[in-house]
Amino acid sequence: MREPTTLVVAGLAILAAGTYAARLSGQLLRARITFPPRAAKLLEAAAVIMLAALVATTALTEGHGFSGLARPAGVLVAGVLAWRKAPFLVVVLAAAAVTALLRVLGVS
């Protein structure tokens, strides 16, 4: 961890307090206003888009460059298994196993 500890603690506190506020505010709003379902859907879609972008960048990149083939290959196999409704544990273990196997075979 290269960042100073105080900064990490500050980030941690912001994330924890803000998340609690998000959990609470929806319940408080529910009693008061009618929220357009479209807006709620949009928030949900935004979260999925960000998570998909996170999957793509963590699978394919390392720093500012390409991660190598082994990791995205493992994630691809996991994606196919998840799409075919394989159990969660199988999906996650397959990703690690395929990536580890490729590295044993000399594919980075």
Binding site: A46, A52, H64, R71, A78
Partner: protein
């Protein structure tokens, strides 16, 4: 607590138990990845108890480990956790508890507890499912994270075991049900492309935020 066991049937409790077990295993990989990225044990431990929202914690760890600012990482995590606001809107009043109980009931709101609550027909069952799953996750997520961090600090080259592929696989498995919707899938692919295209030029964390522009695809 005892009313939870009376209100829910065996099948419902088994589903909640399996979900909590899965959460425990994600917690293991989360703790191992966090220490492998150079964090001391207390960071994933404290995050898992106080934030209690997996995807945002992975994101926080990932951005800081890549050299990004912890403040920017926290804001990115908050963006991911903003979905808890519509969750709160979706839950009928009373599910999360009343008065002091609601302080804890609010904290245990997560993807799993909300899904189980919404699946139940009546308020008492909704409340029981919500609390059973919420408290289960509150025990399993930090428990897995701490154990994973302990294992990870013994195992040095986690890349050799393919652990670095687990994080994207976990997130992918969690969002795959949303990706079955064609419109969401299109937007997600556009967002992923934006993030990948900008990664070589931008500081860590920003590409994922820029991906939000793809939300116009869903309009």
């Amino acid at each position: 607590m005892r009313s939870i066991w009376r209100t829910l049937d065996r099948r419902g409790l088994a589903d909640i138990g399996l979900t909590c077990l899965a959460v425990f295993f994600i917690g293991l990989s989360y703790g191992a990845i966090a220490v492998a990225s150079g964090f001391p044990l207390w960071v994933p431990a404290v995050l898992s108890v106080l934030v209690l929202a997996g995807a945002s914690e992975f994101l926080f760890i990932g951005i800081v480990a890549a050299g990004g600012s912890p403040i920017a990482a926290a804001l990115a995590g908050l963006l991911v956790n903003s979905r808890h606001l519509p969750y709160g809107l979706a839950l009928p009043p009373g599910v999360t508890g009343r008065r002091w109980g609601r302080l804890l009931g609010t904290h245990v709101m997560n993807d799993e507890s909300v899904v189980f609550a919404l699946a139940q027909p009546e308020l008492p069952a909704k409340r029981a499912a919500y609390w059973a799953c919420g408290l289960g996750v509150l025990a399993c997520w930090p428990g897995g994270a701490v154990l994973g961090a302990l294992i990870g600090s013994v195992v040095h080259d986690t890349n050799a075991f393919g652990l670095d592929a687990m994080f994207p696989a976990v997130i992918l498995a969690l969002i795959v049900k949303d990706l079955r919707d064609a419109r969401t899938r299109r937007a997600a692919l556009v967002g992923a492309a934006i993030a990948l295209a900008t990664t070589p030029f931008l500081p860590a964390g920003l590409p994922v935020l820029l991906a939000l522009a793809a939300v116009v695809v869903t309009l």
